[in-house]
Structures are given as C-alpha cells and as structure tokens.
C-alpha cells in the first residue's frame, strides 16, 4: 500500500536517528578535534533534510515539480535577518510565527498564481517567481543586496525571564534541528496517511479524474503548497540562524536545483528518502571537493547516474532491495503465490484490516 513501508525502513531510520542523536557522545572519540565541525555539518544536514522533506510534499506526493522552492527557504532566512533587532536577540515566540506568517502569505499568493499551471509550465512559473524574489533581494536597498546581511544574534528562547534554551550553544541548536526534523517527518507522515494525503495521492495519479469526481483539486494543491512553503521557510530560518548570515544566493534557482537533487538521491514521495538524500548529497559533495578540483564533474555524473539507474533513490533501495526485487519478479515466487498479479514486497504482505496504514 502507498506510504506503507517494510519494517526495515522504520528500523533503519530509527537506528540512523539514534546514531545522529548521540553523535555528541561518540563524535569526539572517533573524530577528535574535528568533531565540533562535524556536528556543525550534521546540523546543517538536518536543516537541509527539513528543506528537502518540505519539497517532497510538493514533488513526491502531489507531483508538482517546483524549481523555485528556494524562494521560501530564502524568505525564512531574510525574514529572520530583517526582523531581528540589531543589538539584541529577537524572541523566538514572535519570530517563528512571523516567519511562518510571511512565508504562508507568500506561498498563498505565489501558489494562487502557479497552481493554475501544469507540468512544464508549473516548473517554469515557480522558477520565475523564485528569480523574481532573487533579483528583488539582490537589488533592493533594504536587504543588503548581493553582499547579504548579518544576523548578529540568534533568537532567544525565554519564558518569563528564564532562558529555556540557549540556541548559541551548538549542542542545543543541534538538538533543536534534530527535533524539528523528527517533528517535521512525523507531521508529513501523518499528513500523507490522512484522508487529505489520500486526496493528494489521487491528484498525483490522476488530477483530471479527481476533478470529475467532484474535488476542487486546486484547493488541495494550494494547501499543500502553503504547508510546503512554510516548512521550507523554517528550514531557511534555521540556516540563517546557524551562521548568522543570509544571502540572495540562498534563493536562486541553483539552490532550488540542489534540493531537487537531494530528493532524487534520497527517493521522492517517501518523506524519509529526502532526509537520506540531504545527507547523501552533502557527504558526496564534501568528499568530491576533497578528491579533485574538478568535483562538479563527479557531482554531475552522480546525478545523471542516479536519474538513469536509480530513479527511486536510496529509499527505493531500502524498500525494494535489488535482490528481493529480482526475486519478487521471478517466476518462482509467482508460482509459489498464485493470485498475486504483481508480487512486490508490499503486495505480498497480507493486507491489514480496513485502511489502517501501519508500517
């Protein structure tokens, strides 16, 4: 069944989360002096994972390929940068709602315009809106232009004068990002398995039929667009917080292209895939840069190969390990289990009662 995955997915994801979560314990022992840097890198990967996940809702679930998603990432970063006071930290209690509000409004307006278009036109119009904001930020007097802006203080998390979280502490910030990725994942998992998610699946499969059935598909798509945009803006806000810096390059189309690459590497439409994709992409780039000054060739070839031979990404490998998949297609299995027309690993599993989608 759609959005139900074999148990090993849960196991692998839990193990990986645990490994990352206890990194502060084993990192220094393994990496020594480098461990601080690696934790910072992990934090960044978590932020990108959140970003990639938000795009997956749009691309993988609804089937809307956006080439302008960095718009919302950048919007989150710039909202934080421009709304932060110069000489004191902003309170997170109003900063987060503000970022969400700004991005939701932007997503509503942009979404209203782009949702009407389909296929290639959707790709192109999202690209155009991304570029529009990019050039606006680039040339506007209030945004620091091409040089970008500093955010001198990370927002404070205080309640009645008591500091709840010290975001300047790298460890705290790391766990905040980790927690947000987990929350984001659970939220999207819930969303895709809810009836609303089922409608989105329907739209992905056959939007025309959904219209004929009686659904106002554009409303559903718009809501998904807004949710996705808000999540991306939170990721952008975190990214800007991490280094205290926002720059127009964060919202150009190259940034949008990169996050798409994370999706394809990880496996889209699975929500957990893009998390893996973000990590894989960053690790690959880090490695290639160390390997050769001509790293873009390696990166480019990796993407091309992934598209050609691994279209379902890492997630696809986990859900259907190559050997299993081959076995499943083999006549032997069909012979053993008559009546199963397409014995993929999902279909082989005995169907659960009613539509409860455990997994």
């Amino acid at each position: 069944m759609l959005h139900t995955y074999p148990k090993r997915v849960v196991v692998i994801m839990l193990v990986l989360t645990a490994v990352v979560a206890v990194f502060p314990l084993w990192g220094p022992a393994v990496f020594g002096a480098q461990s601080d840097f690696l934790m910072e890198k992990l934090t960044l990967m978590l932020i990108l994972a959140l970003f990639a996940m938000s795009l997956d809702l749009l691309v993988g679930i609804v089937g809307l390929v956006s080439l302008g998603h960095a718009l919302f990432f950048g919007l989150g970063a710039y909202t934080l940068a421009l709304a932060s006071p110069d000489f004191s930290p902003a309170a997170i209690w109003w900063m987060v709602p503000l970022v969400m509000l700004v991005s939701a409004l932007a997503a509503l307006v942009v979404g209203f315009l782009v949702i009407r278009t389909r296929g290639i036109f959707f790709i192109m119009t999202t690209l155009a809106f991304g570029q529009m904001l990019y050039y606006f930020v680039n040339t506007s007097r209030h945004t620091g232009g091409t040089d970008g802006v500093f955010i001198m203080f990370r927002p404070s998390v205080e309640l009645g004068g008591a500091v709840l979280l010290d975001l300047d502490n790298p460890l705290t910030f790391f766990y905040l990002c980790l927690a947000l990725v987990v929350v984001g994942y659970l939220f999207l998992r819930w969303l895709t398995r809810s009836f609303y998610g089922q409608v989105l699946d329907g739209i992905h499969d056959n939007e025309h039929r959904m219209e004929a059935l009686g659904y106002a598909t554009s409303h559903y798509k718009l809501v998904a667009f807004v949710i996705s945009g808000v999540m991306a803006s939170i990721a952008g806000m975190l990214a800007a917080m991490q280094y205290g810096f926002a720059n127009p390059a964060q919202l150009g189309w190259h940034a949008s292209g990169e996050v798409l690459m994370m999706l394809i590497l990880g496996g889209m439409g699975t929500i957990f895939g893009p998390i893996l994709g973000a990590f894989a992409y960053e690790i690959l780039q880090h490695t290639f840069e160390h390997l050769t000054p001509h790293w873009p060739i390696l990166m480019g070839l990796t993407i091309i190969l992934a598209v050609l031979i691994l279209p379902r990404g890492i997630a696809g490998l986990i859900i259907d390990p190559p050997s299993r998949a081959r076995l499943a297609k083999s006549p032997l299995l069909r012979w053993l289990k008559p009546g199963q027309a397409a014995p993929t690993s999902e279909a082989v599993k005995p169907a659960a009662s009613a539509p409860s989608r455990e997994g």
């Binding site: 691309v59 089937g63 390929v65 080439l67 315009l113 009407r116 278009t117 296929g119 290639i120 036109f121 790709i123 192109m124 119009t125 690209l127 155009a128 809106f129 570029q131 529009m132 050039y135 606006f136 680039n138 040339t139 189309w253 292209g257 798409l260 690459m261 394809i264 889209m268 001509h294 873009p296 060739i297 990166m299 480019g300 070839l301 990796t302 993407i303 091309i304 992934a306 598209v307 050609l308 279209p311």
Partner: protein
C-alpha cells in the same frame, strides 16, 4: 525621449530580441516536440561560443570556424540524446530537469578543463568590421546588422519548414499532442534524435554568431538560459511563432525597461511573464 533616441533603442531591442529568438528557438523545439526541459541549453550556447573562439584561432577564419563547429554541435546533441535522454521520455519532467542540471555541471567543468577560466573574445570578421552612423556620436556595427539578418533569415527558414513541409506538420502536431505523432506512423525515436540535434545546433549556432558581439567567459550560458525560458513560456511552449514574438517582446522590454524604469530593470521580464501567465496560462501563442 527624442525620436532618434527612440529609433536607436527600437533597433537595439529588435537586435537583442532576434538573437534571443535564435537561442530560444532550439529550446522551444525541444520543449514542444520532445517534452524535454533542457536546462543544459545555456551550456550549449556557451559551447558554441567557445568552439568558434577556439577554431577561429586555430583555423584563422571565423566563417570556416563556424562551418567546422556546426557539425561538432550536432554531434554533441546526438551524443547526449542517445546516451542520456533516450531512456527518459516516458518519465516525469523532474528527471529531465535533474539530468540536464547534472549535464550543466559536467559541461561547465569540461569547458574549464579544455579552455580554462579566462575571458576571451572573437574579433569581428573583416567583412563586417565597418560601422554605420546612427546619430552624430553613435555608430552601429555592420556585424550587428548582419546578425539581425541571419536571425531573420533563420526565422524565415524555420517558419517555412514548419508551415510547408511534412516535418513541419509533424512538429506542429507534436506541439499540440505528442501521442498524435506516434499515430502518424513516424519513427519517434529518429524524430527525437533529429529534433534534439537541430535544437542543440541552433543554440550553439546562436552562441557562434553572437561570439564576436560578446565576451566568452565561463558561466556565460547560465544567465541567458533563464531569459530563454521566459521567452519560451511567454510565447507558448513549442510554438516557434510564440518564441519569435516572445523574444521580440523580451528584447524590447529589456531595452526600454533599462532606460525607462531602471529600478525594475532586472525584474521586468519576470513581471511580464507573470502577467502573461495570469491572462493566458499557456502562453500567448499556445
């Protein structure tokens, strides 16, 4: 704005628009017939310029360089289509976007390995090195006029092919409904290879004849790419006529926008695109 100034800007807008048309025509062909979004289109433009730069100095003649460079560009198109795109036609646009994004990285880096990071230029060919006088202190290079002529002529040829040949019928049919092409009993695979090679060659050719007018530098294709996308989307994907008028519109908008509303100059083409799509979500000529 006095009349002479207006006239000069009209000429500039027209010339820029025509060149844009040449670059965008390949893109719209590939879009329309094959349904492929070719992000590496800008890289093809760059490769055309670098090829002609390289060959001009090797062969000592600009025209000869173009003659040699065109088959190279066609071969490149052929290679990419057969190696990479062939398996992607049945898949979602996303995969094409990503694959051609990967191609950008590879091609840009290949350019750097072969030709390095320096800025280069190609001298204007002797035949058109003269200038005409537009106003008392402003002149216009013969070569720019020549480029306009070439673009117009090519636009004419493309128009003729589309209107009056069997290939044109197929192309028009394909732009409306791709399944129909298969229904016409065409070998789609051959057609796609042909279209992609022609598209790449057109773009690379634009880079070649534009070479003496511009500077040849790494990344030169990236900025032109997005402008071309805007042209194609405004005109209507797959429509050559749309690409032509879209290009002229954008050429004029950039030229006059730069002078009349400088504060919005960098955004003007996107604003136009958004406005067009609001009124006609499939472009002006779709």
């Amino acid at each position: 704005m006095d009349l002479a100034f207006f006239g000069v800007q009209l000429l500039n807008g027209l010339q820029y628009g025509l060149l844009l048309f040449l670059i965008a025509s390949g893109l719209t062909l590939i879009f329309g017939i094959m349904g492929i979004i070719n992000l590496a289109h800008g890289a093809m433009y760059m490769i055309g310029a670098y090829l002609v730069y390289d060959l001009t100095f090797r062969l000592g003649n600009f025209w000869l360089a173009i003659l040699v460079a065109i088959p190279v560009a066609v071969a490149l198109g052929l290679l990419i289509e057969r190696l990479f795109l062939d398996t992607l036609y049945k898949r979602d646009h996303l995969y094409q976007v990503l694959l051609t994004f990967g191609l950008i990285l590879v091609l840009n880096e290949m350019q750097r390995i072969i030709w390095g990071g320096d800025v280069h230029s190609v001298p204007v060919p002797e035949l058109f090195s003269g200038r005409i006088r537009l106003t008392d202190n402003l002149q216009y290079s013969h070569y720019r006029l020549f480029v306009m002529g070439v673009c117009l002529a090519l636009a004419g040829v493309i128009y003729w092919v589309i209107r009056h040949t069997r290939l044109g019928i197929i192309i028009r049919a394909g732009a409306v409904n791709r399944d129909m092409v298969e229904g016409l009993g065409i070998n789609v695979r051959t057609l796609f290879t042909l279209i992609f090679s022609v598209g790449v060659a057109l773009t690379a050719f634009a880079g070649m004849i534009a070479a003496p007018l511009t500077s040849i530098a790494p990344g030169m294709g990236d900025s032109i790419l997005i402008t071309c996308f805007v042209v194609v989307v405004i005109g209507g994907i797959g429509s050559i006529k749309g690409a032509f008028w879209g290009a002229i519109l954008i050429g004029m908008a950039e030229t006059f926008g730069a002078v009349l509303i400088p504060s919005l100059a960098s955004m003007v083409i996107y604003l136009i695109m958004a406005a067009v799509l609001l009124v006609k979500p499939r472009g002006l000529f779709a």
